[in-house]
């Protein structure tokens, strides 16, 4: 025998569980945001005095230097996509896990491995000058923890990684890539 209050509590619980399955796409997922222009500047450099094929080959070389495997490419559209899987263990997390284990809290799940993807697109920067190109590179990654759950699923935005990529590309083609 249960009371009216308990009955309503059960109904509420069932409804909440049912609604939790209603995940919908965020309304602004495909809206151009103000920061997209800054991101474009961060991710793009202009290279001049080189053909599209040459800059694509050099980019493939830089990707290989960085340990990426090339997954897809379409030279007619200037696209190269690469990925690599690496360890994602971070010292800070390991230290925290050890502390919690020592305090009797059991095994804390920590980040274990990640898949990193790089997508490089070369695009003509001018109708007349066939040797001037925009090179835009974008990075993203998925991180799994020791319990095989996804802990991070994100694009990577740190300016340093983009700068380093373009430094390497500039060295490979003996040209300076300048910012837009």
């Amino acid at each position: 025998m249960i009371t009216q209050k308990t009955y309503y509590a059960w109904c509420a619980a069932i409804i909440i569980v049912a609604l939790a399955g209603c995940q919908t796409i965020p309304k602004d997922a495909l809206k151009l945001k103000p920061e997209s222009l800054q991101k474009r500047a961060l991710q793009t450099r202009v290279y001049e005095g080189i053909t599209e094929t040459e800059i694509l080959s050099a980019s493939a070389g830089v990707m290989q230097d960085l340990g990426f495997n090339i997954d897809e490419s379409e030279t007619k559209l200037g696209v190269i996509v690469g990925s690599k899987e690496r360890d994602a263990t971070e010292a800070g997390q390991v230290a925290a896990a050890i502390v919690i284990a020592l305090l009797g809290g059991g095994a804390m799940a920590i980040d274990k491995n990640q898949k990193l993807r790089l997508s490089l697109v070369v695009r003509p920067a001018s109708e007349d000058n066939k040797q001037k190109h925009y090179v835009r590179v974008t990075f993203q990654r998925i991180v799994w923890n020791t319990q095989n759950q996804i802990t991070k699923i994100e694009g990577l935005d740190q300016p340093e990684i983009y700068q380093e990529f373009f430094d390497r590309l500039s060295k490979a083609v003996f040209l300076e890539g300048y910012e837009i």
Binding site: M1, I2, T3, Q4, Y7, W10, I14, V17, A18, G21, Q23, T24, I25, P26, K27, D28, A29, L30, K31, L32, S36, K39, R40, Q43, D71, E72, E74, K76, L77, G78, V79, V81, R117, L118, S119, V121, R123, P124, R136, T138, F139, Q140, R141, I142, I153, E154, G155
Partner: protein, 143 residues
């Protein structure tokens, strides 16, 4: 009111089974869509007044990058581009470009948000607005 524990258990079980999303044969997902094909096509397609397929594909790629996507695949002959956006969720999109008559190109996009197909017309409208801006052309609706 008084309810027996068994009655509650049976009612809860019945309600949970009848909730949408509780499929009984998951392989049916292969050919399933919840909206009609015609409706989806009109939501997902726009025509542009240009015949330059290569330039349009490159503009689609640039727009997807501006929207935070990383390009997965591209094929100029097929006229298709696929990309993924990771931002706490996974959003995958494929955009195809093909000729329409002699003076236009037809651009069709379809998106998948985590495990569900995106069927909200506003989302596609946002994409075509962004694409239209990049192309400096208006996106025409297609019936």
């Amino acid at each position: 009111m008084k309810f027996t524990n068994t009655a509650i258990a049976i009612c809860s079980f019945a309600i949970l089974l009848s909730l949408p999303g509780c499929q009984t044969n998951s392989s049916k997902q292969l050919l399933q869509t919840s909206e009609s094909q015609v409706k989806m096509r009109s939501i997902q397609t726009r025509a542009f007044d240009t015949t330059d397929k290569n330039k349009t594909l490159r503009t689609v790629i640039a727009t997807l990058q501006d929207l935070g996507f990383v390009v997965d695949k591209a094929d100029e002959t097929l006229g298709s581009v696929s990309a993924t956006k990771l931002d706490g969720y996974q959003l995958r999109m494929t955009v195809t470009v093909r000729p329409k008559g002699r003076q236009q190109l037809l651009v069709r996009a379809n998106a998948q948000y985590n495990l569900t197909a995106v069927e909200d017309p506003e989302i596609y409208q946002d994409f075509f607005s962004a694409l239209g801006k990049s192309m400096f052309l208006s996106a025409h609706s297609v019936e």
